[in-house]
């Protein structure tokens, strides 16, 4: 058995009024990938910040041992020097600089006069990239011109150039395409073979099954159970540890007979503004029925987001095609037109496109339906009525918050998503489009969202759900459209849908 390189013992970390970590214990060995799992707010990120010196001693209690030696970091530099590298979810690269400049930022090779030796800097960078088997980017490429997946590789290369022996990856795949994920896993396997110890934070069970050696679960700031080899634990057991109860039915699908056609999309195309003459969505036609959940599956970049964005009027200048709702031709020139017609769109990128982060829950809930709580002529808002409406949604959707005046940015991802759901429910849509509604959300909240979708279709709402998680699509949708390279390539009924067939169409190999 390989050596224990990292041990965290009895870690306690308090924030004003909240205990974020409450006696965390775990150990990780060289050459293994330890999966750190837990719902949002379980304390994973805080734990990693303790490890990396973001929270220096003595702002926490407990001990950290590196190769059996007790360490207490005063800052992130010390942790870095001790061989701890962290790849955060939000990458820390400078877009306007080259790969080499980013990797050797502030550590460039210089001569005696302090002039940068670019040749050596580039050569060292190339060596690192070659070691990692990354051959499609070069040292002089600007970071802004390479994909997010490649940027992540650059971060990893940077950590390795700092001689990191412990590498923490915080949800590294959340913005990667399938191919990029494969590349990342290849590099992770190589690092394992080289004896690097990795702590891997993720929500995605499939990934954990593929690459983790052992798993530790955090719940409410505590480690639940022992660190367990992945072979000795089932998926259900992991989930049970994470949520503290058995989730009997991950996908509580209720059978429902779809009604008449509500939304008809005919020959919708969206042009690519960056590449004239090419299309993000090409001649897409589909229908959606009352009371059904229509799934849209496909790889990242297949044009799913652009398809629903086009329907919703998000890019009127780039979109052509016809949209009918309940038999009536719509002329949608802006999201406002779509909302007025009875269409709602919950966007994929919550922070950039969905939320007003520094505003209250109340503000966020009513912003797209202010007409319903204000006077017709001068638009004077009836605050009492607003409070009543918001309170109803907060209660109905089970948003965990001290008050409806709480700033939404302080809530967990799942609770933020519930507020956005409330915002769109309040616009009383006939067609509710949800783009990756459960991304980055813990399992408990996911199931609650699934239940809500069931309620909606039972009330006669047409639900369209884009999702990259196949189990979710298979578990919840009545019908599944598959997109590949901007086109709708297949249409599966629920009973005929199989994982393999969908993947074949999505990858264009069917």
């Amino acid at each position: 058995m390989s050596e224990v390189v990292l041990k965290m013992q009895g870690i306690i970390k308090d924030f004003p009024g909240v205990r974020a970590l409450n006696n965390v214990n775990f150990e990780a060995r060289s050459g293994e990938l330890l999966a750190l799992m837990g719902e949002n707010g379980a304390g994973k990120s805080t734990l990693m910040k303790v490890l990396s010196g973001v929270w220096p001693y003595p702002t926490y209690e407990g001990d950290i041992f590196l190769r059996g030696e007790k360490v207490r970091f005063a800052n992130t530099k010390e942790a870095e020097a001790a061989g701890i590298g962290i790849i955060y979810q939000e990458l820390n690269l400078i877009p306007g600089l080259s790969v080499a400049e980013n990797i050797f930022l502030d550590r460039q090779f210089t001569d005696a006069k302090g002039r940068i030796n670019w040749n050596q800097t580039f050569a060292e960078t190339q060596k690192l990239l070659t070691e990692l088997g990354i051959n499609d980017i070069g040292p002089t490429d600007l970071v802004q011109n390479i994909t997010v997946g490649k940027q992540q590789m650059v971060e990893i290369a940077k950590a390795l150039s700092l001689k990191a022996e412990i590498l923490v990856l915080d949800e590294p795949t959340s913005a990667l395409t399938d191919k990029e994920v494969k590349d990342l896993f290849r590099i992770i396997r190589k690092l394992k073979a080289d004896g690097v110890c990795m702590c891997y934070i993720s929500h995605k069970m499939e990934e954990i099954e593929q690459i983790a050696d052992r798993i530790a679960v955090l719940r409410d700031g505590q480690t639940i159970g022992e660190v367990t080899p992945i072979a000795d634990i089932t998926l259900d057991q992991i989930i049970a540890r994470m949520v503290g109860r058995d989730i009997k039915d991950m996908f509580p699908k209720v059978d429902f007979t779809p009604g008449e056609v509500t939304l008809e999309v005919d020959n919708l195309s969206v042009t690519n503004p960056d590449l004239p003459g090419s299309y993000l969505v090409k001649n897409a036609s589909f229908v959606a029925r009352k009371g059904e959940i229509l799934g849209i599956s496909g790889l990242m970049g297949a044009g799913r987001t652009e398809l629903v964005g086009g329907v919703f009027g998000a890019y009127p200048d780039q979109t052509t095609g016809d949209v009918k709702l309940n038999g009536k031709e719509l002329d949608i020139k802006s999201p406002k037109d779509a909302i007025d017609a009875g269409i709602a769109l919950l966007t994929e990128d919550r922070k950039a496109l969905g939320l007003f982060l520094d505003k209250s829950i109340s503000f966020n809930t009513t912003i797209s339906s202010l007409e319903t709580i204000s006077s017709k002529v001068l638009g004077i808002i009836n605050t009492q009525q607003e409070r009543k409406v918001v309170k109803e949604y907060v209660d109905q959707l089970g948003v965990k918050t001290p008050s409806i005046d709480t700033v939404i940015g302080t809530l967990s991802g799942g609770n933020q998503q519930k507020v956005i759901l409330g915002k769109w429910l309040n616009s009383r849509p006939d067609v509710f489009i949800l783009d990756e509604p459960t991304r980055g959300i813990d399992i408990g909240a996911k199931v609650e969202i699934y239940k809500l979708l069931n309620e909606l279709v039972q009330q006669g709402v047409t639900v369209i759900m884009i999702s990259s998680e196949l189990p979710e699509v298979l578990g919840m949708c009545d019908r599944i459209l598959v997109m590949c390279e901007g086109e709708i390539v297949s249409n599966f009924e629920r009973d005929d849908a199989k994982k393999e067939a969908i993947m074949a169409y999505a990858t264009g190999s069917a």
Binding site: P335, K336, G354, K359, S368, G379, I380
Partner: protein
């Protein structure tokens, strides 16, 4: 509510200190204003007299009116550099029209329409429709409007011939009527606060006592001071009354209307605002039109008070207006800010100008001090956010 009380329960002493610090942070500009007023009252006998304060209030109105509009512009993460030139152009256009024989009652609204709405729509059109940075568009308008004013007048001043026009900037509401108006406003304010508290309690909403007390104290203090000043010296100046109405409309719009909400949304996250069904183009055009109309109005009041218009009127007013907004706590990044803060900011600048003049500080030094205070205010704002 439970989580809140938990947080407050951590160490009683620490909590008390935090309350005091937070109180100072939340009301820094107001405290600075009060300290300045008290200090100046001791430093110079001429400062705290009804006559001086009445004049001071009238001086503040010009920048104040523009700054109300500037608050909205900055709230949506924009900027309008053309306001000073619009002041000059509207003063010139209005006085010229009267010279040509147009009666005051027509010349004023015509100026608001032609100069105010016209320039506002022009600015708004380019900014909203084509996404050109407001800094550039309004910088261009800064010189265009000034050039127009100079062209129309051939560079010389325009005298006022009308007997009615000077009343806009120079007249007073008689003391008797002023006191009735003030008492009525005070009563209305007390009633509305009382009703708010009642309704909040009825709906189980916790009332922020500290905020309530501060607001109440400021209001009572403000009304008492206004009552003293305006009843013992000629009454409420007409421009002050105009400013009060505009300020109230600004506060009410941002706090309590759909339009106000949309401004906060637009400034906070423009993409999310658009996807939430907000008509971004229209909203922006309205905001830039509002500030231009308000600037044109300020120009008219200024020309009236000076009894004539020089094409150079309003030069550098954009800086004072932006300073008032920023000192008042509105974020230049957009999405957060208040008109009440801006009013305090405008008062602070006004008191500073007035006080320094009384104390005989040379104008050159005044500029330096004002600049330092703007930097200080922004620094404070940045530190507070950390």
């Amino acid at each position: 509510m439970s989580a809140d009380s938990n947080v407050a329960g951590v160490g009683v002493n620490g909590a008390k200190e935090n309350h005091l610090i937070n109180f100072i942070k939340d009301n820094a500009t107001l405290i600075a204003l009060i300290v300045l007023v008290v200090g100046l009252s001791f430093a110079d006998d001429a400062f705290f007299t009804a006559r001086n304060l009445s004049n001071l209030s009238r001086q503040v109105t010009i920048i104040g009116i523009i700054a109300v509009g500037m608050t909205m512009v900055i709230l949506i993460a924009g900027i309008d550099l053309s306001v000073g030139s619009v002041v000059g152009l509207s003063a010139v256009v209005c006085t010229l029209m009267m010279q040509w024989g147009v009666p005051t009652i027509l010349a004023v609204p015509a100026t608001l329409l032609i100069v105010g709405v016209g320039i506002g729509l022009w600015n708004g059109f380019w900014i909203a429709k084509f996404n050109i940075p407001p800094f550039i568009i309004t910088l261009g308008m800064l010189t265009i409007a000034r050039g127009l004013a100079l062209t129309l007048t051939n560079g010389s001043s325009v005298p006022v011939t009308s007997n009615v026009f000077p009343l806009i900037g120079g007249a007073y509401i008689p003391p008797m009527l002023s006191s009735i108006v003030l008492i009525a406003c005070a009563a209305l304010a007390v009633y509305s606060i009382f009703r708010d508290v009642q309704q909040s309690k009825a709906h189980g909403v916790e009332v922020n006592m500290q905020e309530l007390l501060v607001n109440g104290a400021v209001m009572i203090g403000g009304f008492a001071l206004a009552f003293h000043v305006f009843t013992s010296y000629k009454g409420i100046p007409v421009p002050v009354a105009i400013f009060a109405v505009i300020a109230f409309a600004g506060i009410y719009t941002l706090n309590s209307t759909r339009f106000g909400r949309r401004l906060y949304a637009l400034g906070g996250n423009e993409d999310a605002a658009r996807l939430s069904g907000i008509n971004v183009v229209r909203t922006k055009m309205i905001v830039y039109t509002v500030i231009s109309v308000l600037s044109a109005l300020a120009g008219i009041i200024l020309a009236s008070r000076l009894n004539g218009a020089s094409p150079n009127l309003g030069t550098m007013f954009e800086l004072d207006a932006i300073a008032a907004v920023v000192i008042g706590g509105t974020s230049l990044a957009g999405g957060s800010g208040k008109v009440s803060g801006t009013i305090i900011g405008a008062l602070l600048i006004g008191v500073l100008n007035n006080g320094m003049s009384l104390l005989g500080v040379v104008t050159f030094y005044q500029l330096i001090i004002k600049g330092l205070i703007i930097i200080l205010a922004v620094w404070f704002d940045v530190m507070q956010k950390k």
